[in-house]
Symmetry: C2
Subunit: 154 residues, 2 copies
């Protein structure tokens, strides 16, 4: 899994949050360690299947951050994660993956997306069970941290 | 989504747990309600993409049940969910979906599987964000409850 394959996902996440929620998140240091896991309060997950590869993506948010994104995108800030928030996380997961799919398609890398699944639970952890390399990368702002994790079997 | 499409997944789950862990789970009543969500301690999720459809599957276990399955399959019972347990949940998710894929392929329904993702967090909830119908079904035994949820866009 090379950087050409990863960057479109990171770029797409920054794009989606900037254009939809007027939020500029600061990318942290990518981590390739095999035993690293993302931890947060609400996560969107999606499977990807292509002719040469298959994999999974997750975006995990701290509650404070996703509630602020909700407020910026929809003008309402629920006191905790509700169905509208999990719907939003599903939408963001779709948009980020769809944006990366378009960028990668332009470069000749093709895959199809499954439908997103959203997990809610205080301090849950996410482990991608693929034989391939995975990359996890934090994004931060004043309101909290999000982690994107991408994993492809080659 | 008709019963021909669902039964292979339920059959495959029963098969996997019976052959691999010598456990006979009792299927409960399937639920088609749109607002129903699975709740548990550790979940395996996988995306599916076919020519006509795409979707997602999750299998959610109560901790007591997955630890008993671990004990029956591998002869060791950790005191709580560790990486070996989440590996096992990923494997079960792969085996159940692979078994259903084979049964459905025999009937002319084709799909490809993404790679599994495992979520761990006490009392987390799972929401499949697909426009299609979804079905959720409990399986019980003395050691606890598992939920399988299958969701396909048509």
């Amino acid at each position: 899994m090379n950087v050409n394959f990863i960057n479109p996902f990171l770029e797409s996440l920054l794009n989606v949050l900037k254009t939809m929620a007027s939020m500029e998140l600061k990318p942290g240091k990518p981590n390739l360690k095999k035993d690293n896991i993302a931890k947060g309060d609400v996560s969107g997950l999606i499977g990807m299947v292509g002719p040469q590869t298959k994999g999974s993506l997750s975006i995990t948010f701290e509650e404070s951050l996703i509630l602020e994104i909700m407020n910026n995108m929809l003008g309402e800030r629920p006191s905790s994660v509700n169905e509208e928030v999990t719907d939003l996380v599903g939408e963001i997961t779709n948009m980020v993956t769809g944006g990366a799919k378009k960028l990668l398609g332009d470069k000749g890398y093709e895959f199809e997306m499954a439908t997103p699944v959203v997990v809610f639970g205080k301090d849950h952890t996410i482990a991608h069970k693929s034989d391939g390399q995975k990359i996890i990368m934090p994004f931060t702002c004043d309101h909290g941290t999000a982690y994107i994790e991408i994993c492809f079997e080659v």
